[in-house]
C-alpha cells in the first residue's frame, strides 16, 4: 500500500457533517472552531475532528455526531463550540441544550439512534454516511469498502455476479425501475464493434428540484459508487468507465476526483486491479446543467460532445450506447447498492422490501415537514411512516394535504392515500412514479393548481425541444395553468388540459415528455374541485394564487393590536391603502394589484385574505 494508514487512536471522534446543506450552514467554520478549542485544551491527541458526508438530517444542520456514544448535536453555531468542547469533551458532561428535541416534546434525545428520524431508516446505499471521511479511502476500506469488489474480481465469474444481482431483485434507482440484473445481462450479451470495448456509465445528473440523493451519496461515500462500477464492469466486460456528474455539484466532483486518485494509487482502479488481471478505469465527465441529460441517451450524446437531446430507443444503450458500443448505464444509488449485494448476498438483500421492489430507497423528504432531510427506507414502507414517523409530521399543526413523489415528472398523491406502501408499482398505479426519489410534502396551504403549474414550468423550461408534444405541449399546458391561476380560466380549459396531457404523455419521445403531464394529470384526478373553484368562483382555496385573492383589513385588529402601525401603507406599491398612523387602515379594491405585500408585512394579522 502506497500510504500507511495512521495507527494512532483517539479517545473521541467528532464527526462534523460536511454535506452541502451543512456546509452552507457554515459547518466548515464549526470544524475550525472545534479544532481550535480542542487545541486550546491540549486535547489534539485525544480528540479527532472528522468532516463526513451528508448525515441526512439536513433540517437540523450544522450537525455533529460524537463517537463513541453516537451523541447527536444539532443546529450548532460557532458561539456554542467553546462551551461544548469544555463541557462535553473535557469534563464529560454532554450539553443537552444542543441536542435534538422532537416537536411537541420537552426532553431532548441525546443518542442518534433513538431519534425517530434515524431509528426507522435502513441504510444500504447510505451505509457509510456520517461515519467516514469521504476524502480518506482508508476509512472507506475500514468499513468494508472494496471488499465486495475484491470478492467479485477474485472469486466470482461474470455470470455469478449477474446472477447475484438478478436474484437480489435490484431495480434501477434512477426512476424507471428497470431490473438491474436484466440490463447487465443484456450488456454482457451485446458484442462491441471494431474492438471498441464496452462502457460503464454512472448517471449522476441529478436534476430534480429538491432532490439530493445522488449528491449525498457521491459526497458522503464516493467509493461505494466506484466499487459498484468496477463490479459492474467485471460482470459485463466493461473496459472504460465514465462518471457523469453535474457541474453544479462541485463538492461531489472534488470528492470523486480525490476518491478516484486514491483508488488508483492503491491499485483498486486502473491496470490489473488487485493483481486479478482485470483492468478498468473511470473518468469523470461534468454535465453542463441540462435536466434532460439525465435521460440516458441524452447523457450519452452529451458525453460524446453532441447536443444533449434524447434519441428514440431501441436501440438501447445496452446494444448501442456510448460511441456506438454496448453501454451499461446505472444511476448513482443503483451503483452504491451493488457492493452490498455482492458482499452480503442476494438472499439477504431480497429479504428487504416488497414482492416486486426489493431493498431500500433513498428519498429526499422536503417541503412542509418538520424533519427535512435524506432518508433511506425499505421498500414497502407507507407514506404515513415517512411523513409522520421519520418526518415528524407537518409543522405548525397544519393538515397534511398531498405528497409529490418522483420529482417534477411525478404525480401528487392525496392524503386519502397516505397508507400507500411505497414501491414502483403502487406509485405508478397512483399516477405518480418512484423517480429518483424526490418527495415534496404539501400542507393545507398549498394550492394544487399552482403546484402543477410550478412543476410544469420546470419541465417546460428543461424540455430539449426535440419532439413536438414536449416542446409545444408543455408550453401550451403551462399557459393554460397560468391562465387558471390568474383567474382567466374557462370551463373548456380543463377538458383541453386533460386531452393535451394525455396526448403528450402518449406521444412524447423520451421519459421527460412522457412524464411531464403527471403533476397535471394527478392533480386533475385527485383535486379537480380545486381547479373548478379557480375557474368557476375565481378563488384559490389555499390563497396561494394571489390574483384570485381579495385583501381586506380587519379594522379591529388593525387598531387594537397594531395601533394603526402604517407599515402596510408604506409598503403598498400601488397606493391602494388609505389611513395614517394610529388610525384604522383600509384597502381600495380598485387600486389593489393583489401583490400580497400588506399581508406579508402585517405583524398583527390584521390583513385578511379571502
Amino acid at each position: 500500500m502506497a500510504e500507511k494508514v495512521k495507527d494512532k487512536t483517539f479517545r473521541i471522534h467528532l464527526m462534523v457533517c460536511a454535506g452541502t446543506g451543512c456546509v452552507s450552514n457554515h459547518s466548515f467554520e464549526i470544524k475550525e472552531a472545534l479544532e481550535k478549542e480542542v487545541k486550546k485544551h491540549g486535547m489534539e491527541d485525544e480528540v479527532l475532528v472528522v468532516s463526513t458526508g451528508c448525515n441526512g438530517f439536513c433540517e437540523r444542520g450544522p450537525l455533529l455526531v460524537v463517537q463513541p456514544g453516537n451523541i447527536f448535536y444539532q443546529q450548532l453555531t460557532v458561539k456554542d463550540i467553546p462551551h461544548l468542547v469544555e463541557e462535553h469533551f473535557l469534563k464529560g458532561r454532554p450539553v443537552s441544550r444542543l441536542m435534538y428535541t422532537p416537536p411537541r416534546e420537552k426532553r431532548p434525545i441525546p443518542v442518534l439512534n433513538d431519534i425517530d428520524f434515524f431509528k426507522k431508516q435502513v441504510l444500504i446505499a447510505l451505509r457509510n454516511r456520517g461515519l467516514i471521511d469521504p476524502e480518506k479511502i482508508e476509512e472507506s476500506i475500514a468499513r468494508d469498502g472494496y471488499k465486495a469488489m475484491a470478492k467479485a474480481l477474485t472469486e466470482m465469474t461474470p455470470a455469478q455476479i449477474i446472477k447475484e444481482v438478478t436474484l437480489s431483485g435490484l431495480r434501477g434507482r434512477g426512476g424507471a425501475g428497470f431490473p438491474t440484473g436484466l440490463k447487465w445481462e443484456m450488456v454482457r450479451g451485446a458484442k462491441s464493434t471494431n474492438g471498441g470495448g464496452k462502457f460503464v456509465i454512472c448517471n449522476g445528473d441529478e436534476g430534480d428540484p429538491g432532490a439530493f440523493m445522488d449528491r449525498s451519496i457521491l459526497e458522503a461515500d464516493p467509493h461505494a459508487v466506484i466499487e459498484g462500477m468496477v463490479i459492474g464492469a467485471k460482470a459485463v466486460g466493461g473496459t472504460e468507465g465514465v462518471l457523469y456528474v453535474r457541474n453544479e455539484y462541485p463538492l461531489a466532483v472534488k470528492r470523486l476526483m480525490v476518491a478516484l486518485d486514491q483508488a488508483r494509487r492503491l491499485g483498486l482502479l486502473g491496470e490489473n486491479i488487485l493483481g486479478s488481471g482485470f483492468s478498468f478505469d473511470i473518468k469523470v465527465h461534468r454535465g453542463a446543467g441540462a435536466f434532460v441529460c439525465g435521460e440516458e441517451t441524452a447523457l450519452i450524446a452529451s458525453i460524446e460532445g453532441r447536443l444533449g437531446e434524447p434519441r428514440p430507443r431501441p436501440p438501447y444503450p445496452a446494444q448501442s450506447g456510448l460511441h456506438g458500443q454496448p453501454t451499461l448505464i446505472n444511476n448513482v444509488e443503483t451503483w452504491a447498492n451493488v457492493p452490498v449485494i455482492v458482499d452480503r448476498g442476494a438472499k439477504w438483500y431480497s429479504s428487504i422490501g416488497t414482492e416486486t421492489s426489493k431493498g431500500t430507497k433513498v428519498f429526499s423528504v422536503v417541503g412542509k415537514i418538520n424533519n427535512t432531510g435524506l432518508v433511506e427506507v425499505p421498500m414497502g414502507i407507507t407514506l404515513r411512516e415517512i411523513i409522520y414517523g421519520i418526518g415528524g409530521g407537518i409543522p405548525g399543526g397544519k393538515q397534511f394535504k398531498a405528497v409529490q413523489t418522483g420529482g417534477p415528472s411525478g404525480g401528487c398523491i392525496p392524503k386519502e392515500m397516505i397508507d400507500l406502501p411505497i414501491d414502483y408499482e403502487s406509485l405508478t398505479k397512483a399516477g405518480s412514479m418512484m423517480g429518483s426519489g424526490g418527495m415534496v410534502i404539501m400542507d393545507e396551504d398549498t394550492c394544487m393548481v399552482d403546484i402543477a403549474r410550478y412543476f410544469l414550468s420546470f419541465t417546460q423550461e428543461e424540455s430539449c425541444g426535440k419532439c413536438t408534444p414536449c416542446r409545444e405541449g408543455t408550453k401550451i399546458m403551462l399557459d393554460i395553468l397560468t391562465r387558471i391561476t390568474e383567474g382567466r380560466g374557462t370551463a373548456q380549459d380543463l377538458t383541453l388540459l386533460e386531452d393535451m396531457a394525455n396526448a403528450v404523455k402518449d406521444s412524447a419521445l423520451c421519459g421527460l415528455g412522457k412524464t411531464a403531464p403527471n403533476p397535471v394529470l394527478t392533480t386533475l384526478r385527485y383535486f379537480r374541485d380545486e381547479y373548478e373553484t379557480h375557474i368557476r368562483d375565481k378563488k384559490c382555496p389555499a390563497h396561494v394564487c394571489r390574483q384570485l385573492n381579495t385583501y381586506t383589513i380587519d379594522p379591529q385588529a388593525c387598531l387594537e393590536a397594531g395601533r394603526g402601525c402604517d407599515v402596510c401603507r408604506r409598503n403598498c406599491s400601488s397606493e391602494a391603502i388609505r389611513g395614517e398612523k394610529n388610525t384604522v387602515h383600509s384597502i381600495t379594491q380598485e387600486k389593489c394589484i393583489k401583490c400580497g405585500v400588506c399581508f406579508d408585512v402585517c405583524q398583527f394579522h390584521a390583513v385578511k385574505v379571502k
Binding site: 441540462a290 434532460v292 447536443l307 437531446e309 434519441r311 428514440p312 431501441p314 417546460q460 423550461e461 428543461e462 424540455s463 430539449c464 425541444g465 426535440k466 419532439c467 413536438t468 408534444p469 416542446r471 409545444e472 405541449g473 408543455t474 408550453k475 401550451i476 399557459d479 383541453l496 386531452d499 393535451m500 394525455n502 396526448a503 403528450v504 402518449d506 406521444s507 412524447a508 419521445l509
Partner: protein, 585 residues
C-alpha cells in the same frame, strides 16, 4: 421475414424494416413530417404515431423509426393514435402556421384552425431537423445544428455566426420541407440567382439537355462526396446501383485510319465586356442561359422569369456580343442573328413583353431566314440599328428606376437612345474551343488567323486538312449554324469513308530521305519537321523519315548541316544539273 398486421391486413416484410416501410407496401398512408428516406429517422415531429400491440403491450409508437416485430398488430388510425396525431399537428400548426406540409396534414385530419396561440403567422420552421441531418449525415459538413432548448429551439450555425464549415451546397434548403430555409439566407455564402436558376443545378447531371448518350455523370469539382467523403445520396436513391464513385478517367488507345475533328466552339465570355454588366446584374443573361430558361425541361419549366420570379415587361436582345468587334473578334459569328430572332419569337409567344433587338446588320442569309425576319417585324419586335454601348441600372428618370437601361446610338435616327428593359439577353458569339491549340498540335494541323482550324482549301477541300486522313466538321473550322455543320459533317464522313473504302492512299511522290552514311545524328531535322515525319533511331544513331507522313516540304533538306537529308527528285545533283541545263540553253 417478419409477419405483422397493419390495419387488419397481414404483410410479410424483411427484418429490420420500419412500420412506415411496411405500411407503404400495403399502400397505407401514414403522414410524416420529419421523415426522409435518405437520412436516419429522427422521430421528432410525432405525427406518424400509430398504435402498436405487441406481446401484450399496447402503446403508441412512431412508425418512422420503429422496427417491425413478429406478430405486431398496428392500428394506424385508432382513436388513441389519431388523438395524439391530431394534437401534435394542431400544435405544429400554431407554431408554424405558414408551413404548407403541416397545413396539408391538418386539412386531411379535419383540423381547420389551431386552438393554440400563434406566435408568428409567417413562421415556417417546424424544427424537424431535416436540414441538420442532411448537413451532417449526407453532406458531412456539420455546419448547422439546433441551438437553445424548448420553445426557444432554432436551427443555427455555431453562435449564429457564418459557419466556416458551410460549403454553401444549399442541400439544407433543398431538404427543407416547408421552405423555411432559403439559399439566400446562408449568410456570407450567397447563392446568386443565375447560378441557382440557370447554372448546373446538381453535381450529378446529364451534361446538356440534348446530350447523347443521355447518361448522367458526376462533376467531381462540385460533388460533395469528393469534398467531404459523405453524401452518396445519388447511390442511395439509385435502385439499379449504377452510381460508382471509384470510376476513373481512362485513356484508350485506338488504331484508326482517319480522324474527323469536331471539337466545337466555346461561347464568348460576356464578362469580358464589362460595360454590358453581365455577372453584375442578375437579369442580364447570355443566350445559352436564356436557352436553358426557355427550355420546357428547364428550371422554370419553360417560363420566362426574372431573378425575383416576376415576368419581364420589356426584353432587350443585344446582337454581336464579342463578334464583329475589333476589340474582341473581328469575324461574324454567323448564328447570333438567327437565334436572336428565334428568342424574340419565343418571348413574343410566351409573354407580353416588348422586345428590342439591337443589331449592326441583320444577316439572314439561309433558306427561309429572311422570311422569318419579316415575320418578326410583323409580330412587332422593335429593331434598333446600332451597337449597344452600355447596360446599366443607373436611372435617369422615374420610369427607369429599378430597371436595366440599354444605351445605344440609333444609327438610323442618328440619336443616342436609352431603352429601359427588365431583362437583357446577350447574343454571345462563337470562339474556338479552349483547347483548340492543343488539338492543333496533337493532329499537326494549322489554325487560320481567327484561330479556327485551317482547312486544306476553302473551296476545293473545305473539310480536309493538310494532314491526310484528318478531316474537319462543324464549328471547329469556322462559326456555322446547325444545317451547315450537318452538311460539312456529312461531307467529312464521306471523305473518311472513301478513304476506308479504297483501303490505300497515294504517297506523296516527292518525299525526303536521309542518307544513313552521311547522317551524323544531330537530330536538327527532327525538331524542324512540321509533320513529325522524322524520328531518331537510337540504335543506329541516325534520323529516319516516315514516308507516309512526309509531305516533301524540303525543310529538312535545307537545314541538314551534313547534307544527309535530301528531297527525292530535288537532290543537289539534280538541281545543279537543271541549273546547268538552263545555263546551256
Amino acid at each position: 421475414m417478419i409477419t405483422l398486421t397493419i390495419d387488419g391486413k397481414k404483410i410479410e416484410v424483411e427484418e429490420g424494416a420500419t412500420i412506415l416501410q411496411a405500411a407503404k407496401k400495403l399502400d397505407i398512408k401514414i403522414p410524416t413530417l420529419c421523415y426522409h428516406p435518405v437520412v436516419e429517422p429522427y422521430a421528432a415531429c410525432r405525427v406518424c404515431m400509430v398504435e402498436s400491440s405487441h406481446r401484450g403491450r399496447t402503446e403508441l409508437v412512431t412508425a418512422c423509426n420503429t422496427k417491425v416485430a413478429e406478430g405486431m398488430d398496428i392500428q394506424t388510425s385508432s382513436q388513441r393514435a389519431l388523438n395524439a396525431r391530431k394534437m401534435n399537428v394542431e400544435m405544429l400548426l400554431a407554431r408554424a402556421p405558414a408551413a404548407e406540409p403541416v397545413r396539408d396534414i391538418a386539412r386531411s385530419l379535419g383540423i381547420t384552425h389551431s386552438r393554440f396561440p400563434v406566435k408568428d403567422p409567417e413562421e415556417k420552421c417546424i424544427l424537424c431537423g431535416l436540414c441538420i441531418r442532411t448537413c451532417g449525415e449526407i453532406v458531412g459538413a456539420y455546419a448547422i445544428s439546433f441551438t437553445e432548448r424548448g420553445t426557444e429551439r432554432q436551427v443555427s450555425t455555431p453562435f449564429g455566426e457564418p459557419s466556416e464549415a458551410c460549403i454553401g451546397c444549399t442541400a439544407c434548403a433543398y431538404f427543407c420541407p416547408t421552405g423555411a430555409i432559403v439559399a439566400e439566407d446562408l449568410r456570407g455564402r450567397k447563392v446568386i440567382h443565375d447560378e441557382l436558376l440557370l447554372g448546373p443545378t446538381t453535381a450529378i447531371r446529364v451534361p446538356t439537355r440534348q446530350a447523347v448518350p443521355m447518361v448522367p455523370y458526376i462533376d467531381q469539382e462540385a460533388c460533395i462526396h469528393f469534398k467531404t467523403g459523405e453524401c452518396r445520396i445519388c447511390a442511395k436513391v439509385c435502385d439499379r446501383e449504377a452510381v460508382k464513385y471509384d470510376m476513373q478517367d481512362e485513356v484508350v488507345d485506338l488504331e484508326v485510319g482517319s480522324i474527323i475533328l469536331a471539337s466545337g466552339f466555346k461561347s464568348f465570355d460576356a464578362r469580358r465586356i464589362p460595360a454590358y454588366g453581365y455577372g453584375r446584374y442578375p437579369n442580364i443573361i447570355t443566350a445559352l442561359e436564356f436557352e436553358h430558361l426557355v427550355n420546357a425541361s428547364g428550371p422554370t419549366g419553360g417560363k420566362i422569369k426574372l431573378a425575383d420570379g416576376g415576368e419581364p415587361k420589356a426584353v432587350g436582345i443585344v446582337h454581336c456580343v464579342g463578334s464583329r468587334d475589333e476589340n474582341y473578334n473581328e469575324y461574324c459569328s454567323r448564328v447570333c442573328c438567327m437565334y436572336s430572332l428565334k428568342f424574340a419569337h419565343l418571348i413574343k409567344e410566351k409573354t407580353k413583353a416588348a422586345i428590342y433587338d439591337f443589331y449592326i446588320d441583320m444577316r439572314c442569309f439561309g433558306k427561309g431566314y429572311e422570311e422569318f425576319y419579316h415575320r418578326l417585324l410583323e409580330e412587332g419586335a422593335k429593331f434598333i440599328r446600332g451597337r449597344v454601348s452600355e447596360i446599366t441600372d443607373f436611372a435617369a428618370s422615374k420610369e427607369e428606376e429599378g430597371r436595366l437601361i440599354i444605351r445605344v446610338e440609333d444609327t438610323l435616327l442618328g440619336i443616342v437612345r436609352r431603352i429601359p428593359v427588365d431583362m437583357a439577353i446577350l447574343a454571345t458569339g462563337l470562339e474556338p474551343s479552349l483547347d483548340h491549340k492543343q488539338i492543333a498540335k496533337t493532329f499537326n494541323i494549322s489554325c487560320s488567323q481567327d484561330s479556327f482550324f485551317l482547312e486544306r482549301h476553302p473551296k476545293l477541300a473545305p473539310m480536309s486538312t493538310f494532314s491526310d486522313g484528318i478531316f474537319l466538321a462543324g464549328t471547329c473550322q469556322a462559326p456555322r449554324d446547325i444545317p451547315d455543320t450537318v452538311a460539312q459533317a456529312g461531307g467529312a464522313a464521306a471523305e473518311a469513308l472513301a478513304l476506308a473504302d479504297k483501303g490505300t492512299f497515294a504517297l506523296e511522290p516527292i518525299t525526303a530521305e536521309i542518307d544513313k552514311d552521311l547522317c551524323a545524328g544531330c537530330q536538327m531535322c527532327v525538331g524542324l519537321c512540321p509533320f513529325t515525319a522524322i524520328t531518331y533511331d537510337k540504335e543506329k544513331g541516325i534520323s529516319v523519315v516516315n514516308d507516309a507522313l512526309c509531305k516533301g516540304c524540303g525543310t529538312c533538306a535545307a537545314a541538314c548541316p551534313s547534307g544527309a537529308a535530301q528531297q527525292k527528285h530535288f537532290r543537289d545533283q539534280q538541281i545543279f544539273a537543271e541549273i546547268e541545263g538552263i545555263l546551256l540553253v
